[in-house]
């Protein structure tokens, strides 16, 4: 049955154009990728330091400390804990460039939820991070550094790397929205991307730290992420045990993955809120 009503405003409004969110999301991601591809800094610079660590410093440390080959593998995975934050933080610089010299205001005037801009950038940061992780592992394998992946291990590794990258990109996007320029942003990158790396079990187990500091590192997403990456690629659950003191590697991995996932969800939500608010004066 049709019921006919008359609008009280007696104004005939034109239909607003509505379209699905996936198409604009892919448009935003493609645009961001095209811009990143024209900025080699965003692609190459984050890779340099981790490769230096994995291929030069780790073998040198092994030789100087008279450790065995597993230490090279330990550090090679540890350098992923530097690569992922560095890459995502460098992606944040692109957001500031977009705001200061690019088309961000045009995108903000588009009839799409503003959170899509953050998600489009995130997709590209994840894709670039994935390529760089693959490149680092490829270089490490070529350098005869050994990994011991299983199907389940690869799944843990991918899930941990993905969620950790999402969490770090959330931090990058939030910082980019809150600072006024690139200088201020770059000045804060070491505190977010590099200091935690020294504490989170990258070069040595967290149990080697003073007890109080070791407890603090258990609250860092990177500590959980690195323990999961090593569990996935090396089958080494000692990092998980150092955090949780439990006997079941799967249970510990599940808990650490939940921690990283919670950081990813919270930081992404915060980044979308902060960006959307910063976009409206």
């Amino acid at each position: 049955m049709d019921t006919v009503t008359t609008l009280p405003t007696t104004l005939r409004r034109p239909p607003a154009r509505r379209h699905a969110l996936l198409a604009p999301l892919l448009t935003l991601a493609r645009r961001r990728f095209q811009l990143a591809a024209r900025t080699p800094r965003e692609l190459v610079v984050p890779l340099l330091t981790p490769i230096l660590f994995a291929l030069v410093i780790a073998p040198s440390l092994k030789k100087a400390l008279h450790t065995d080959a597993s230490y090279e593998s330990f550090v090679a995975v540890g350098t992923l804990g530097l690569l992922i934050p560095l890459n995502t933080m460098f992606a944040g610089i692109g957001v500031i460039s977009d705001r200061q010299n690019g088309a961000q205001r045009e995108l903000l005037a588009a009839p799409i939820p503003r959170g899509l801009l953050v998600l489009g950038n995130l997709l590209v940061a994840l894709a670039v991070t994935g390529l760089q992780v693959a490149a680092l592992i490829g270089f490490a394998v070529a350098r005869r550094i050994h990994f011991h992946p299983t199907a389940a291990g690869v799944a843990w590794f991918l899930a941990a790397a993905l969620l950790f990258a999402i969490a770090m990109y959330g931090a990058a996007e939030t910082l980019a929205a809150r600072v006024s320029g690139q200088e201020e942003y770059i000045g804060r990158v070491p505190a977010i991307a590099i200091v935690p790396w020294f504490l989170a079990g990258s070069l040595f187990p967290i149990t080697a730290l003073p007890v109080g500091l070791a407890w603090i590192t258990r609250f860092l997403p990177l500590t959980h992420g690195l323990a999961l990456l090593r569990y996935g690629l090396l089958g080494d659950s000692s990092g998980l045990h150092d955090i949780w003191r439990m006997t079941s590697p799967t249970a510990m991995a599940g808990l650490s993955l939940a921690v990283v996932a919670a950081f990813a969800a919270i930081l992404t939500t915060v980044s979308i809120r902060v960006f959307s608010r910063s976009a409206r004066l």
Partner: protein, 323 residues
Amino acid sequence: MRLRHRETTVAPAAIEVRGLRKTYPGDVEAVAAIDFDVAPGEVFGLLGPNGAGKSTTVGMLTTMVVPTGGTARIAGFDVATEPLAARSVSSVVFQDAVVDRALTGRRNLEIHARLWGIDPAAARDRTDEYVETLGLAVLIDRPVGSYSGGERRRLEIARALVSAPQVLFLDEPTVGLDPRIRHELLDVIAGLRDRSELTILVTTHYLDEAERLCDRIAIIRSGQIVALDTPAALLAGLGPELVEVRVNGKTGAALAALRSHGVAGEDAFTVGSTITVPLHRRTAAETVAAVDELRLAAVVTTRPPTLDDVYLQLTGDPLADAA
């Protein structure tokens, strides 16, 4: 049960602003409860000095700035409660360059069309049309970073039109351009007036632009609209002729003397060391003679009024105000 709305055919104002207000932290009132309507197809100018509230007003209408109070509707859509719908029927050409310089002009247009949900075939047709109309054919496949200021501005106008907006916001579109490019761009914008379905709100502080382009003009000062009418009606308010009196001493005291002797009315105004006296009842000769008698002036001239005079009268001279 299916609900169907029976609507009348009364078209809403393309832009409807009621009591729109913006107060920034620190109690800085950028826009103070302004009201205006812009009819579909109208070219509406928002004029005012720097800091008058023009860009904040456009910011609120384009959902970039959150209003502190009042309402604004774009093609019937409330900018506060229906921002996506309001954005879907409008486009903006910003005051400064807002483009992806590393991408080609064509790619910039494509991105706009996709984000506005335009059918790809229609987007291609419109791109071809505006690229041709705006003289971008030889540039469109080059990175925008290689464009001159005027070329980039034409590209931004083409981009704004690709989504076939009902309302186009031009925020000081010619600022920073050299005179030749500025006049070329004015031709382009004047050409848009022929598209009767397109409503344009343009902000500027160039009076000749406003006079040439706009059907109606609102002059905004300190966040308030101090005049709103057609250019001809605004000009008529100043009478048929003006006397300009350049004084040697303080303009404030000289203006007071002219007023006290009945030579100048309340609508006389000062700019720097010049007092401008609109003539309503006296003739120019009578007024010049009266000024000479008072021995206030170094130079006295007469001329017809321009829109500049309307603007200067309404936006005031801060130095004279202070005096």
